[in-house]
Symmetry: C2
Subunit: 212 residues, 2 copies
């Protein structure tokens, strides 16, 4: 199989536990690398530069776009979010599977630009559970819940664009599920090009040998 890694997009409903899931996947398997997005939004309490995001300003973000330094970017709630190109390319070349934890706008751009990428959508085990998580513990403002809900509706409209939908019921099981989807992906013909060519070369050599 090809040495080059696979580009994996992980999206999902807010409250589906994507972040924890990605951490669990990386803890279990060494061949994954997590891409850190760049954003112009302000850091929230507890967020660390280079861990959750690379925080920057609008001018620098736009310079990076102009220099083709992002594999995708999108605007969400008035802020830029983007995926720095260098890290992704280095890690893929090194054989790592690179995880982008991004939302649907970005996911669709990635699929268009990298048709061989793997798009996984993470969801809670049921619609009821999703609604429960969106509502929170009743401590959030109606405005926050309204925003989350609007986003969930938008996300639910886009799930068909993903290659797979995984249900995050049990954290470990779900991490293994993503891992085996990646393993499946590695068996697609598009990732077996070298092998197919070798087969064809041997067959044509055989034809030649037989006929000579």
């Amino acid at each position: 199989m090809e040495k080059k890694g696979i580009l994996i997009v992980i999206s999902g409903f807010s409250g589906a536990g994507k972040g924890t899931l990605v951490k669990e996947l990386m803890r279990r398997h060494g061949e994954y690398a997590l891409s850190v997005s760049m954003t112009t939004r302000n850091p929230r309490p507890g967020e660390t530069e280079g861990v959750e995001y690379f925080f920057t300003d609008k001018a620098h973000f736009e310079e990076t776009i102009a220099a083709d330094g992002l594999v995708e970017y999108a605007v969400y709630c008035g802020n830029y979010y983007g995926t720095p190109r260098a890290y992704v390319e280095e890690q893929l070349e090194a054989g790592k599977h690179v995880i982008l934890e991004i939302e649907i706008q970005g996911a669709l751009k990635i699929k268009k630009k990298f048709p061989e990428s793997l798009l996984v959508f993470v969801t809670p085990p049921s619609g009821e559970e999703l609604v429960r998580r969106l509502q929170g513990r009743g401590t959030e403002s109606a405005e926050v819940i309204e925003k989350r809900l609007a986003r969930a509706v938008e996300e639910s409209e886009g799930v068909e664009a993903y290659d797979y939908i995984v249900v995050n019921d049990d954290l470990g099981e779900c991490a293994e599920e993503i891992h085996f989807l990646v393993e499946a992906c590695r068996r697609a013909p598009v990732r077996r090009g070298a092998f197919i060519n070798e087969i064809r070369r041997q067959l044509s050599g055989f034809v030649k040998g037989e006929r000579e």
Copy 2:
């Protein structure tokens, strides 16, 4: 996940061990059913009616075509080969994953008619090994080898049409590999329709409830 089974096409180079592989898969997992093809070719020594094939004549085969009783059929070396519809549909409805062991012409027709089907191509571990198997033990006539070779070349041209290529190096491992490709397939949005609809229904119910 949907209760309905998945239609699986298994093709592969002659000598890749497809038959043994399918038997091993069925021995390990109870949720598979093997479709038996209908053919107008004569039974070979050791072949049993209803096991390797349903043997029939041209007139009956053509009647079956006319009655839309086959999900696909093809002509190979002057004989008809086809997949009886009734068995396939019954088993899928009962939640079994139905395996069709057919060649590329048939595989492409299946994919066109059933886009949700899973096409798996089985290959020996290398081009060298493939050539070795095509050559056999030196006991076959040049004509037989020539025919096998021509077929292998044709097959090698078609592999990109398959969803996955699996290498049959170790029988048990390869059977498990096919099993997990089927499991992956079950997580595609197209097979999660009911789940997606339930999510959407719950979200829209939530919107209504919130706004009232």
